[in-house]
């Protein structure tokens, strides 16, 4: 083993801390969306009321699914337009001390779509192509708004299980409270701790250093700590630096790495508990937590095991013998393998997409592990939307499983009707379609190219393109390898942007519609004849359902990509 067992403890302790904090924080989040009294009301309520007055809305005006969607599109459309124009014109706007030029339209489109949709996939080099203003004002605004949108949508969908009037709550109220009560306070705290750990927080964009080796070196600075905190907490994943969380400035120590992991886990692991509070059945949170922990733990385990395993390719070279330290290329030496693997797997499984290592050279099985997280996009997935997607899976799983107990299926006392199944099924189709169709078109149209010429790509390039579209459709933002193919062409910018927008807002519409149908139904009483979902059996069933359905859909492409790269493992 190429790592000290000691460092496994870090990971387990951190997981323990998250699992200890999540029930408490989740209950708080639940109360925030139930608008029950919580700490900070005296300070924040007047502020929020002022915001509602400004927006001309009121908590007493709950919306139907359609209205909620319109409000989501209105806010996010505004964000998108603002970002697009800002990036296009960043050279002419203030706060561009490094002289970054305005982005070409296709890159601006991709970037605006990427940040609006909580993806934060970047097709540019942050240090030279993004102005300080773009990062600090435009991007940072999107970091908050996109995460708040995801949380609001989840809250709205969850309300469907308790409301009976067909309404899901008020989007503007949810959005405001997501920021004032959840994202902003935790992000501020997180940023302060980051600063204490040595992460820069300054308006100085860059300093020039004269290293001992001679010459000059430009060290880019800026409001890194605050950016990093909301980027991870909001499951956005955009890095202030191109090297993302692997940069020593953004992530100076093991402590900051673990803090980053904690911030990524906090909201997705708390959401099931918020759900339990909101539907007034705390026990219902546990099957989801069990599914998430189980799948993430298996993923981390596999990732670590295959990264640490001997690389068979090196075994054939005379005199070298099998490599004993696995796949070290791209891995930060400052951290142990379990620490960095935990960060990396959590980052992909929580749809954050931040990197603590360069994953272009990881073992094929480790690639497969990461891809799988983006294929489910619900274990636990991004803030709000990940859990809502898990609820969509749950609806389908209960539909099939519920039949097996001899009743027309229901969840939390709400019947699962044809309408819910129809919409949930759309979400099932959409994700693979958004990944495979653009990929196939790119292949048929010859858009996959290196240096302008189409090439017969290797399995690795295949994996990289697959990873790119999977990451965009899942609104993840992680990228496998930036040099396997050129993804900064107009095809990948425009199509990638569209994939992110569709991969974000169509599922959101599905979640709201499904929630809306539930909200229009009466709650039925439950007894021994109804399926008790707060049980271990159900948790196991749900985990198997998610894994089997995902595997069935994605196994063929996994065979072509990562599986084809495996050479004589074992």
């Amino acid at each position: 083993m190429a790592f000290a067992l000691q460092s496994l403890w870090d990971v387990l302790v951190l997981l323990g801390v998250v699992l200890a904090v999540a029930p408490w924080f989740g209950r708080y989040v639940g109360k925030v969306y139930l608008e029950r009294p919580v700490a900070g009301d005296s300070l924040l309520l007047p502020l929020e009321r002022a915001v509602y007055r400004l927006l001309g809305t009121s908590p007493r005006r709950p919306m139907r699914a359609g209205e909620y969607m319109v409000a989501v599109l209105f806010v996010n459309g505004g964000t998108f337009a603002f970002l697009f124009l800002f990036f296009l014109l960043q050279h002419a706007l203030p706060l561009d001390p490094t002289g970054a030029p305005g982005m070409p339209w296709d890159l601006a489109f991709h970037s605006a779509a990427s940040f609006t949709t909580n993806t934060d996939f970047t097709h540019f080099v942050n240090e030279s192509q993004l102005s300080l203003g773009s990062a600090m004002i435009a991007w940072q605004l999107a970091l908050f708004l996109s995460a708040a949108t995801g949380l609001s949508v989840a809250a709205a969908m969850i309300r469907g299980f308790v409301r009976k009037d067909g309404r899901l709550g008020n989007f503007y109220v949810d959005l405001t409270r997501s920021i004032t009560r959840i994202l902003l306070p935790v992000a501020v705290l997180g940023a302060l701790v980051f600063v204490a750990l040595g992460v820069p927080e300054t308006l100085v964009a860059a300093v020039r250093a004269h290293p001992l080796t001679g010459g000059t070196q430009t060290i880019y600075l800026g409001p890194v700590a605050s950016f990093q905190a909301i980027s991870l907490l909001g499951t956005n994943g955009g890095g202030y630096y191109t090297a993302n969380a692997a940069s020593p400035l953004a992530n100076p120590s093991s402590a900051s790495l673990l803090l980053g992991t904690f911030l990524m886990l906090l909201v997705p692991f708390s959401t099931p508990f918020a759900f339990g509070t909101m539907v007034r059945r705390r026990a219902e949170a546990w099957p989801f937590v069990a599914v998430i922990v189980l799948i993430v733990a298996i993923a981390v385990g596999l990732f670590v095991a295959y990264q640490a395993a001997a690389n068979p390719l090196l075994g054939g070279i005379p005199g070298l013998g099998p490599s004993t330290n696995g796949y070290p290329v791209g891995q930060e030496t400052r951290w142990s393998l379990p620490e960095t693997a935990f960060f990396q797997v959590v980052s992909v499984y929580n749809n954050v997409g931040a990197n603590s290592m360069q994953i272009g050279a990881i073992s094929p099985i480790a690639q497969l592990v990461l891809l799988f997280g983006m294929f489910t996009q619900a274990t636990p997935g991004g803030d709000g939307t990940g859990f809502a997607m898990l609820l969509v899976f749950t609806v389908l799983a209960i539909y099939v499983g519920g039949l097996m107990v001899g009743r027309t299926p229901e969840y939390l006392g709400k019947k699962i009707g044809t309408s819910q199944v129809r919409w949930a099924a759309l979400a099932l189709i959409l994700h693979p379609a958004l990944i495979l169709v653009p990929f196939s078109i790119a292949v048929v149209g010859g858009w996959v190219s290196v240096g302008g010429a189409s090439i017969g790509v290797t399995a690795h390039t295949f994996s990289s393109v697959l990873y790119e579209f999977a990451s965009e459709s899942a609104n993840n933002g992680s990228a496998l390898s930036s040099n396997a193919f050129n993804d900064t062409t107009p095809y990948f910018n425009v199509v990638g942007g569209l994939v992110m927008l569709l991969g974000r807002f169509v599922p959101i519409y599905v979640m709201l519609r499904v929630g809306g149908y539930f909200a229009g139904e009466a709650t039925l009483p439950q007894g021994p004849g109804t399926l008790n979902t707060a049980t271990g059996t159900f948790a196991v069933y749900l985990a198997l359902f998610v894994v089997v359905v995902t595997a069935l859909v994605f196994l063929p492409v996994m065979a072509l990509g990562p599986l084809a790269q495996i050479v004589g493992v074992g």
Binding site: L396, A425, G456, A459, P528, Y541, A551, V553
Partner: protein, 711 residues
Amino acid sequence: MAAPDPVEPGARVSVRRRPHTSVRRVLVDSVKHFGLRRQMRHPLMFCVFVLFLFVSLVTLYPRAFPDIAASYQAGYYVAVAIILFLTVWFANLAEAIAEAQGRAQAESLRAIRSGIRARQVLPDGALRWVPSDVLHVGDTVEVAPGEPIPMDGDVIEGVALIDESMMTGESEAVTRESGGDKTSVLGGTRVLQGTVRVRVSAARGESFLDRLIRLVEGLGREPTPSEIALSVLLAAFTVTLFVVVLSFVYLANFSGEVTVDLATIIALFVCLMPTTIGALLPAIGISGVNRVARANVIAKSGKAVEASGDLDVLILDKTGTITVGSRLAVQFVQAPDVPASELLEAALLSSTLDETPEGRSIVRLAARRSAPSRRLEPGSYKVMPFTAERRMSGLTLADGTEVFKGALSSIEAYGAPLPAPTRSAAAEAARKGMTPLAIAVNKRVVGLVILKDVVKPGIRDRIHELSTMGIRTIMCTGDNRLTAAAIAEESGVDEFVAEAKPESKLELIQREKSAGRLVAMTGDGTNDAPALARADVGLCMNSGTSAAKEAGNMVDLDNDPTKIIEVVSIGKQLLITRGALTTFSITNDVAKYFAIIPAIFLGGGAVALPGIALLNLLGFSNPYLAVLAALVFNALIIPLLIPLALAGVPFRPRSAIDLLRRNLVSYGLGGLVSAFVGIWLCYHFLAWLVREPAFATVARLVVRHLPLGGP
């Protein structure tokens, strides 16, 4: 002129009779189902059918498809086409068998009515023989003994004893008379005694017989909401897999690792499609209704059968459902200073001529206690029948001795005071929910006979089964609270409503429904009609009035109110069968991947990829046979599961989570394991087959003599 005799005297045609299906008819139907209109109704199987046509076309004219020519292998393509054809045919077969079972039941019913003629009462009062076909709703017919009743209707004049055995299988004849609750008669039944006039209440094609025929034949069967939702899910799954498989073709060719053969990719798609459940879905629905019909219940829609699986609350009448319907004597209590023999003799005398079930039970009990029997000479006594005013009955013997039995208050009013110990014994019995009757001889109370409502044997177990399934039972009775509580205790119902008035049931249903529960009830009287109509599942007894039958959504031909429990099981079984086969279909797919994906890489002329070899769990070496094995298994599993689809998966009442666990293991894990084993067997069978010289010769001949092109 005598009425034509459509049914052999004494012939009993019961729905219950196990239908025998004609093999030839089933085969013919299964071929007919290839028709386009039929195919369009099942998009999933239609899709397989289109793929079959496409592969056939390629096989016949490979030169028209130059892209495919590179990997074209005549024998392989012919094999794929044949298996695809079989897959669709097996699906047709499943539906045809289910329909044939229904049709066999329907035909035995139709025979009842063929050629019935009836005497219509014309407006001027004259009678005229007409074929029953021309009768309309509102027409009146006269039916004499020995004649069949032409159509469903109500008796408006007269009383008759009617043999309904051909419809219900119940050999005891029933009485029908004008006025009251027993007016309704069924078309096809036969009058044994008495002449009645019947007003036709159902138009031709609308009678129960017609409904039953249509339903068991599966014609005009609307898919139920849960069937639609499942179809939507299966369709979504199919579309997803289509995208996956289609993109696989482009991506595989692009990756340069493999070239994917057309037949192979079609085989992959068909194997992954949920063809198993898709093929069996119609048969499951039809057989559910058939199973209900075999229980001698006419469901007016498949939806009602499904709803019965969902029930939360069952409202049961005490009388006739939970108890045998009459109170029976269980005990004698002597008055002080009265010898036991005197009481027994008095009891026997008072009831000898009492033909009510209560009276007969007193005689039985007295005889068992060896009461001195005494022959009553005709004319030596005078019967004092029960009247509403006197509320007691008995007789006066020739020597002037008066023997009476009756309610305590009536006996006291008659002038026989109750001694104190007797009174307290009576109060004690009443407290236990029993009914004490006093027996008096010459205005002297000699003792009590205690009557009790007797719970039907086995009802406790059935109510326990219901509560295991999560269904709450509420007993409804006109009795006082004490009696009701005692019966509730003894039968194990969850709740009871005592001193119920006719409208109580409706109130009860409304209360439960407003709490969001699904409610079922049984009933027969006209005053049950509103409640039957309001209930989610209203099971009406066939002996009930037309109004009640119209209001309910199921009619029980056996007049057995406990039948509702059987119907609940059938409804649950129907849903479980659908869920179980869907799960089976999905887990099957996992195994098929492990057969086909390695085969694609092996057959595509790719360099050996160790990563792919990892997937080759079954260790197949011939890629063509591997694909064919998966495809053959995919087709064969359909006929293998037809019996399960028709009979429903075994169902025993259990808690929901227990059912989920068991069915997941049986059908989820079972689907996975059986597919691995099945595909392995198919592969080795095919491998053996192609090595057989005889088979090779035949195959060569076929390929040579078919107009096949290709390299």
